[in-house]
Amino acid sequence: MGIEKFITSNTVVEMLCLLMAGTCLWKDKSKVWKYFSFYLLIVCITELFAIYLRKVLHQNNQWPYNISIIFEISFISLMFNHLFKKYINGTKYIIMGLAVIFVVYMGEFYMHGFMLFNVITNNIMSFIFSFYALYYFYVLLKDDQYVNLKFSADFWWVIGVLLFYFGTTAVDLYWGKDDIKAKRILSDYIVKVFITLLYSCWMYSFICRRWLGSTPKV
């Protein structure tokens, strides 16, 4: 079992992000930011396990993502709830979003079982997170206080989310259609680019949180 099989652009950037989160957020006063490192750890474990299933055991590797998506939905919703708190009470929107995603997830689970990836859940989740991100920008700009966006951890975290979930919409929408090799390669490249953008924004966000940002660490 060669270790090189596990070194892909996705795993590299995800591990770097985990390392950065560990360095920058470990002593963070906010529990939401602090425990975000655990989510990144789950992402890395899922990615490595999926590679192991596909490249070593030559088995279907979609089902681990059906587990990790639960953590993805929870942690990102939790973080948005935390970010909204500075400006508005966004908990009701978050709970509504979670309810919708839960219903779709269970529906898909019922339709095609656990072994196939929950594409519709993923699409709905992407739409909801993109909406949260745009709504966050709206409340941020509407607020009377000025925030230096260049060094705002919150802002760069949301930019990462918007880039990834909004940017990969086209790939998500055509998932499984006209499944030729050329399309798969293109989709893979697009997803890789956006994953790199997502984790780069998040890494910068963690740096802002630890060293550059002037916003209170709450």
């Binding site: 745009l134 920008f137 941020l140 700009l141 000025y146 925030v147 966006l149 930019i159 918007l162 880039l163 909004f166 940017g167 990969t168 919409t169 086209a170 790939v171 929408l173 055509y174 259609k177 006209d178 499944d179 030729i180 050329a182 399309k183 293109l186 989709s187 697009i190």
Partner: protein
């Protein structure tokens, strides 16, 4: 063929989405930078207002101290000297006249006490806040009328309301400047003060029947007092209009919309605990 079509569609859609995202981020940065400029401008205005208000307070205080000094010298000291003389004379006159002189002296002491009370009230500019604009102007008008320098008439139209401590202080200072001009430069005999209160507008008009002047001449020769009035009025969101011509007196009108609240004029003094 269908696969190629889907591939192109994904690529084009993704590029469009990316451009849309870039546009959103650019818009956020531009809007945020404008917000920063706006906040900075507001801070500058607030700071200028605070400085101007402080200057106004000092000027009001100076004017009050000058008036107090004059009042003590010209009135109180004179009356007290007269009482002293009266009491000294009382020692050498008969009982009936002595009683008359003591009674006269007692009345004069009562008058001095009353004058001192009035003076002590005017020593602090806080009384503008406590008494309000109308009462403060009334006291000032009475003082001038008693001095005999000018005949001052104060007319109030409409139901009065508070304009806020800061705005009333600045309006009072504008009135003081107008009064000074009428006394020192205009050789006026009469001064009419009109305060008009309505829901939409407040007007302070001060008219004198003095020498008057040509506004053009004043502008070329400096006229810092009149410019000060206009800039101060602007600070509280009011407009000061000066109307005068040689030989026809002068009229200064300050117009203010009471509903329009200035961000920096909140109706409190900057050094007040509230």
């Amino acid at each position: 063929m269908a696969g190629f079509y889907t591939k192109s569609l994904i690529l084009v859609t993704t590029l469009i989405y990316l451009m849309a995202l870039a546009f959103i981020v650019l818009y956020i940065f531009i809007y945020n930078s404008r917000k920063k400029k706006h906040i900075e401008e507001q801070e500058k205005l607030k700071s200028a207002f605070r400085q101007e208000l402080l200057k106004t307070q000092i000027e009001v205080q100076e004017q009050t101290l000058n008036h107090t000094s004059r009042e003590i010298h010209d009135n109180i000291t004179q009356v007290l000297s007269f009482i002293k003389l009266n009491l000294a004379l009382a020692a050498s006159v008969d009982e009936e006249e002595k009683l008359l002189k003591i009674n006269e002296s007692r009345d004069l002491v009562a008058q001095v006490i009353h004058d001192l009370r009035t003076l002590s009230k005017s020593l602090s500019f806080e009384h503008i806040k406590e008494l309000g604009l109308i009462k403060t102007m009334q006291i000032e008008a009475d003082r001038i009328n008693n001095s005999g320098l000018l005949k001052v008439a104060l007319v109030i139209d409409g139901d009065d309301y508070s304009l806020g401590g800061q705005r009333e202080l600045i309006l009072f200072r504008i009135f003081q400047e107008t009064l000074n001009n009428a006394l020192k430069h205009a050789n006026a005999k009469h001064l009419k003060i009109n305060l008009q209160y309505s829901k939409e507008i407040f007007n302070l008009t001060v008219e004198d029947d003095g020498n008057g002047f040509s506004p053009g001449e004043v502008n070329s020769s400096g006229g810092s007092g009149l410019k000060n009035m206009q800039s101060r009025a602007a600070l509280i969101g009011a407009v000061a209009t000066i109307d005068s011509s040689p030989g026809k007196g002068c009229s200064i009108k300050v117009t203010l919309n009471p509903i329009e609240q200035q961000l920096y004029a909140d109706g409190n003094y900057p050094n007040s605990p509230g």
